[in-house]
Subunit: 715 residues, 2 copies
Amino acid sequence: MTGSPASPRATKPVSTTTSESGFVDESEAGAVHLAPDAPPSRPPTVEGMPGGASPIGRIPVTDVRPLVDCGTRPAKSVVGEEFVVQARVFREGHEAVNATAVLTDPAGGEHYFAMHCDNPGLSEWSTTVVADREGWWTYRVEGWSDPYATWVHDATIKIGAGIDSELMCAEGVRVLERFAAAVRGQDIDAAPIAIGIAALKDGTLPAAHRLGAATSPEIRGLAGLVPLREFVSPSAAYSLLVERERALFGAWYEIFPRSEGAVRDPKTGRWTSGTLRTAAKRLPGIAAMGFDVVYLTPIHPIGTTARKGPNNSLVAGPEDPGSPYAIGSSEGGHDAIHPDLGTFEDFDHFVAEAARNGLEVAMDFALQASPDHPWVQTHPALFTTRADGTIAYAENPPKKYQDIYPLNFDNDPAEAYAEVRRVIQVWLDHGVRIFRVDNPHTKPIPFWQWLIADVALTYPDVIWLAEAFTKPAMMHTLAKVGFQQSYTYYAWRNQRWELEEYGRELAGPAAAYMRPSFFPTTPDILTPYMQYGGPTAWKLRAALAATMVPTYGIYAGYELMENVARPGAEEQIDNEKYEYKDRQWYLYEPGGALEGQSLAGYLTRLNDIRRWHPALRWLRNLHFHHADDENILVYSKTRVVGGERNTIVVVANVDPHATRETWVHLDLEAMGLATWSTFDAHDEITGQTWQWRADNFVRLGPDSEPVHIIHVRSH
Amino acid sequence: MTGSPASPRATKPVSTTTSESGFVDESEAGAVHLAPDAPPSRPPTVEGMPGGASPIGRIPVTDVRPLVDCGTRPAKSVVGEEFVVQARVFREGHEAVNATAVLTDPAGGEHYFAMHCDNPGLSEWSTTVVADREGWWTYRVEGWSDPYATWVHDATIKIGAGIDSELMCAEGVRVLERFAAAVRGQDIDAAPIAIGIAALKDGTLPAAHRLGAATSPEIRGLAGLVPLREFVSPSAAYSLLVERERALFGAWYEIFPRSEGAVRDPKTGRWTSGTLRTAAKRLPGIAAMGFDVVYLTPIHPIGTTARKGPNNSLVAGPEDPGSPYAIGSSEGGHDAIHPDLGTFEDFDHFVAEAARNGLEVAMDFALQASPDHPWVQTHPALFTTRADGTIAYAENPPKKYQDIYPLNFDNDPAEAYAEVRRVIQVWLDHGVRIFRVDNPHTKPIPFWQWLIADVALTYPDVIWLAEAFTKPAMMHTLAKVGFQQSYTYYAWRNQRWELEEYGRELAGPAAAYMRPSFFPTTPDILTPYMQYGGPTAWKLRAALAATMVPTYGIYAGYELMENVARPGAEEQIDNEKYEYKDRQWYLYEPGGALEGQSLAGYLTRLNDIRRWHPALRWLRNLHFHHADDENILVYSKTRVVGGERNTIVVVANVDPHATRETWVHLDLEAMGLATWSTFDAHDEITGQTWQWRADNFVRLGPDSEPVHIIHVRSH
């Protein structure tokens, strides 16, 4: 890890077309031409020799980072997201080496970023880069020899020591004349170079004056902007997929649409399902809380064979609606809408209402079938037939899940891929651009790789979220092959050390390809921490999710702190997966009987803070700080926008059961501040402001607030 | 790091030509054919899509290790050296996954090694592989679906629980029939499979009996040897360069040949140079100590311009021989022999005598010139001309080294490469097969890459040792581009924690491409530790060098513990680089006046131990153990040869000034022993034997021996 802050960067692309010479593969390095004093011969290389040897560059560039699966898969970014490119760059002997990071945009334009050396002993170079539009970019690192810097180094020492002064001035003329020739024809004022050359040639001046003129700030500035580069040696060019900002940043709100507007007749106890029309009425409320994405659990027809009843019971009553994840009935499959919810017209209405409220619609995509799914008849090859001729249902021996048929992609892969692609197109045609994929780790990885890539050919704005609560290798690989976002282990990371370790993993090298989504609870997940942590835990876990990573999500009812689990399970009792739930939102509204007993206001505040502070829109800027109490978690995020530094510091007591007092020790340099700085620490949760410095006393917990979300002001 | 022991391996290559089906790139995976029940279609892939997407395998294989610069450079091994191949292998869903490592020999023959899962949660698989001949091999990892293992898992649970017994037997028949078809035509006795099928079909037998017959040890054995593999998904095939054993293992002895047989006239004080003929007389003594390689500092004519005198003084007297590293005079350059040393005939005699004594000759290759080198006239482009028309000498401003002209490879690269290649050929023609390269990090890296590769085309047995005492990136890259061996920072690693850290680095991933050489001292290096550590330090540092890594070296005079430094320098006073040195070896021989005052016997013992114990011929088997005293270093090496386990445990007190007593805690499992084992610990240094177990008391230091080198016996 480099500890370097954001580097200066060449916002103006530097043309180097005539400024370097050397053994560059011109096809790779762009329009690089040999300088007039190029060598008269090219050396032999190892190309084509045994072992498939790759020629190493004249100036070696190794360990380029980020690098995803050795560059066989793209690194990812979103428009405007800064990230650090690193490499090891070194050369033989004592002459000066330098390096440039080059981003090539989808139109072929090259963007140059001067690199700086972070660690000379380890030959580590880095720079901060940014891509300004969507599409397939590439990035590479060019190592090069820096003859001007070599001369400055040697001449400064030797003229300072009174050694070889005349010779060093003559050598300086040579290098500056090459520099002048290199920038000629570019739209650059090279007059400072001519002034330096004239001074070096003027034997009447003291040597120190001549040196001074040849190392003027103006010439050094030109050397930074349009350097004289020799032996430019490019690394391979690696793919960089730049996506829209929603791929990285967004607040999600998950609903079961049938619950939104569902009504239970108090006399008969019978339910009337909510519909897409009634659910659409909930959209303004969700938008008012500041969410960006409304995520719908599956809306397709539900099977009746072996339908599950309330609380996952094996027998459903005639009125039980079944799990929306048991997809498919005589009324249709994945390309259909449950008749109780409405029609495609209603769906279009819902999508339009969402858009009108500033919300995107995310659709659940659960590739499995109930035994009643039309595919059982129309696409039998999508299922596994057992030795007795029956279709295999889901099993985890000896457990059986007879309401679910897993899909088989191997019986007839081409047909399976095509059919799924057809289904996805239905929803694309109805305006869906975000898919939350249920259990992607139970389908072949090459299928997802192809599906996501194929959709992106026509719809590059589509975002796929992987619900892969599984082994790390699978989770990371799904991200590498295309999923824009991934659920994470966040719900099970509750201790400070766990959160720090996990945060460092996610914001570190993994951030080059995987964008984490933090859900504190889901319809499937209600951890003991949430069951027993009280309101403090519910606030805390939402606040951490909303500030540690750019994408987080809430499952409807989080506002109400629904913390009771089904006995023996870590999910809610009376789970909405198997029944309707009317949360009577109106009771919590102003004037309602339960006004003030919801976390809606707190969530709204969190989303406001996310909107106000652009530092929270990024992942890779996550930095942890120390606190003396092992339960006090401290992290900051910093981002410079339009020349202004935006910094948020989060201080959280992860023990929901006890108020704790301790000292927090901020690494001010990581926040762009001098170590001796003081600043106004404005808590965006309470509105209080304190005078803070590196070491600060805090008190957090159930008797007040579990979290400070501090905006660093007026320093 | 996997902590797994060596895995079982399929010494007999398994043909899988008819045993798998799936979406295999047949060109990559060898002769892989679709099984009879192959799917009727192939899915579309991402090949050719934007971003240069690489299709992922049906069964993903990621993070193959070893991997050198992402596979762009070869991993290295020597004949017979076992090493571990690792990868992450996983699949969707719950079915069984499996993996095979495949080595392809230079003739195209495939060698299969069954992998095992070390960590299911992290999807880590590994196996131990070995290549049995020199040349360019490849290695790859194949992930595959294991239908027999899937069935065994499910059937065992379900039949055990009395569920679906008949169905599971019928499924078993299907999988065993596929298995039988897959092994048909191979030279395999498939009768056990037929027995299993018959039992499964026999409804009169209890289900448990039918299951037992279908999971018999015989069938499981066949499944290990010639598994039914489905969806075989190969990783890329990576280069593996297998070299001769001397590339990894050898004991070196460094001499200045002019000193061996040099005679000083006691009356006049004038020296007569030793010659290659007199130096050859020293060879039996070097061989008797058990060394493998005799390394000669440069033997070329020496320049007279600015010749250095004794102790690196700037003025040489008329009798001073000069530094052999200031190469070239009117008598010739790098392709010539200093007349004082003799002729090419004498050189041939020396090489032959070395061979007769079981020694290889390593030649110093120092690419720099004195101002008197013939190249200054014949190849002026090999040097840098300064602005004043003079040739640039070596400098480290403001220091000047006017006796040395560095070479310039950029003025006319093709000519420079060709000339150096011509010089090397002279020595190849005279039987030299080992080159010790002086300061390779001051020449362009692509030059070394090409030179080593080009020589290897005709002389694959040539070994190059890099004297790159420089930054890690350069040192490692020189190894990656071809150097068989590298000097190391060993001389400066004296504390236990330093040696552990460095040992882990060298024996870890770096061992896939870099083979370390440990020299406790050289003509350039005499650390304070050696200056002031007394005889204990000289024994200790030789013993550690000889046992921690397979290649180590001694500079002549190490036997005599020449520990006095030139004031202000960390090298010897009266350094042999600038003068003759007659060490009067005869004085230390039996009957000599100084008999018993040399470490020759100790070094002989170390080399004997290295010869007796094959575990010491390997690097990657280095394993550290704990001792309570922070100065007691403990490590072991284990190797199985011909079914017998050879284990050496080294216990060393790295404090040369104090005897220390402490407890040593051995990780017996890492030595292939059960944790409760006892064994005879035979100290190969003293000949003593103790009864040892996991925890043992030791006492080491100046009042006895600094090191135990323990052979684990009779356990």
